[in-house]
Symmetry: C2
Subunit: 325 residues, 2 copies
């Protein structure tokens, strides 16, 4: 049986070819302040510069392009806490596809407004993971729409993997990637792409203490559902019911470590990234920097990449974090 | 007599060679939201990603490296509204040089704190351009320090010119650059570098209505002092007594146009850059985007680069701009 890396090799390279005309590689910026604090070269992968302000443009476009005929004929449906929602709305409008996006009533109003501003039709549901998934499946069944899974499909993971290919082109040698984990699509894609070319690179996942689904699942060797509804956390982008099946399998094999960060560490990272690095990063997108500031880098002093996965933070939340000392 | 472009050609390329080990090229990010609003390709040159959060790291390092022996032996002195101050403090600490930086008592406290955090010694003076310049010259005379001019010297303009060389490497073909003007060093450096290689490119300068020194000077064909003290403006980085002699000469010859933006337009650009582009840009660094949003791009639909020259905005100011609708 081919290894995971072998199985995903073609899908990741196909994804890169599909996305080429749509998404230029995002910048990799060097960070003086984080390098000084971490005592090593620190690079920031600016997924905040994607068209919808998060890495989700990659998997949304890849999924829709991979099944373009079905998507155009029947439309697409997905469920999201907000960043995949915006990305699907954006991709749908780029490709002339009709999109329904299921979000919980209590999901970020900011992300909902932005999703609608990209032309997406939002369908609201009750505030549990089960209700969201049932609504999504019902819409698919009634309408024959293409279901775009936010993290657990080959196309999603392969779309996320294009980020890993960009890192390989942007940085020589061995490095450690710190990246957020929600359902696990992003970290799986990066791990598959990076370790295929440079097995000496390390992949460290980061979750909020409030939502440690992947960390607990890896600890116990099986997928653990952490809660029925999103946990109270600044990092709304990282709320998830349970790790994906495929993403959990990839994480078991290829993710070196998962670390947790507190709400206070997350807020501090958002604040420092804005004031020192001049970047607007949402709490869920800042956990990699939070982990680095909390000492999560490997002891050998090798270069680190923090993936800043998204920047869709409500202005009032950002204002309040900027006001804290 | 050689043309201005010929005279600056070697200094700009020497500057690039000097800076190479210190400052990697800053990212050029594509902007979906500005492209949509301006109906053309819009690129953002992220000088906010320089080590001190503004383009000033280029001229500070270039000046100090060009006269490194004198700088190490006697130290340096300069005057600044705050961004050159931070950059000189940073460059001095990188190169083991002692720095005195003259700032007005009412200059941005945020920038003063940051200058000191980079290891710079700040000397305060009264709140007029004359007092600042006299204090600077007195310190030079008493101490024999190397004077680093914030905008009007060959090394400063050549250091700024390295930004233009990066644009030529990052973008093919003809484009229009929109860049802020304070003393004029940045726009002069960019114009000299870009037009040397591609005379078909256009260079548009942007100033705050509150501080239209270069625009008025160009209109009247001679350097006009606009005020004795900094004007009330969000764009503190753009306050200046009078355009430089050399920078005025370059602007007369190579800058296609200078446009003015209102305080409201500046605040709106800062807000939109944070919420839509996920970038923290200070008011003075956002005037190019403000001008673009106000319709300053050339009518032919050619690609535009907005230089986002700095991001050193006080968190309280940013919070307040984010709170506005």
């Amino acid at each position: 049986m081919p290894s995971l890396i072998e199985r995903y090799n073609d899908p990741i390279h196909e994804a890169r070819a599909r996305l080429e005309g749509y998404l230029p590689p995002t910048p990799l910026a060097s960070s003086r302040f984080l390098s000084a604090r971490a005592g090593r070269e620190v690079w920031l992968k600016l997924e905040t510069q994607q068209p919808t302000g998060s890495f989700k443009a990659r998997p949304a476009l890849n999924g829709m392009l991979a099944y373009h005929e079905q998507a155009r004929a029947a439309g697409v449906v997905t469920s999201s806490s907000g960043n995949f929602a915006q990305a699907v709305a954006y991709a749908a409008s780029e490709l002339g596809v009709d999109a329904r996006i299921v979000m919980m009533e209590e999901a970020s109003a900011f992300k909902r407004e932005r999703t609608e501003s990209f032309g997406g039709r939002v369908v609201l549901c009750a505030n549990t993971f089960a209700a969201r998934w049932e609504t999504t499946l019902r819409i698919r069944q009634e309408s024959g729409r293409l279901l775009l899974h936010p993290y657990d499909s080959v196309e999603t993971i392969a779309g996320d993997g294009t980020l890993g290919l960009e890192l390989l082109a942007q940085l020589p040698g061995a490095f450690t990637v710190l990246a957020p984990i929600s359902g696990g699509g992003l970290i799986a894609g990066i791990a598959l792409a990076v370790k295929a070319a440079r097995p000496e690179c390390r992949i460290v996942g980061v979750q909020a203490q409030a939502n440690p689904s992947m960390q607990r699942s890896l600890e116990q060797g099986k997928r653990i559902a952490s809660a029925s509804a999103p946990a109270e956390s600044l990092a709304d982008a990282l709320s998830v019911a349970v790790p994906g099946e495929s993403t959990f399998q990839v994480a078991q094999e290829l993710v070196d470590r998962v670390v947790l960060v507190s709400e206070e560490e997350i807020a501090r990272a958002v604040r420092l990234l804005a004031l020192e690095q001049k970047l607007v990063v949402e709490p869920g997108g800042a956990v990699a920097a939070a982990a680095l500031l909390a000492g999560a880098a490997p002891p050998d002093g090798s270069p680190v990449v923090c993936v800043l996965s998204g920047g869709n933070v409500h202005p009032a939340v950002l204002s309040s974090i900027l006001g804290d000392r």
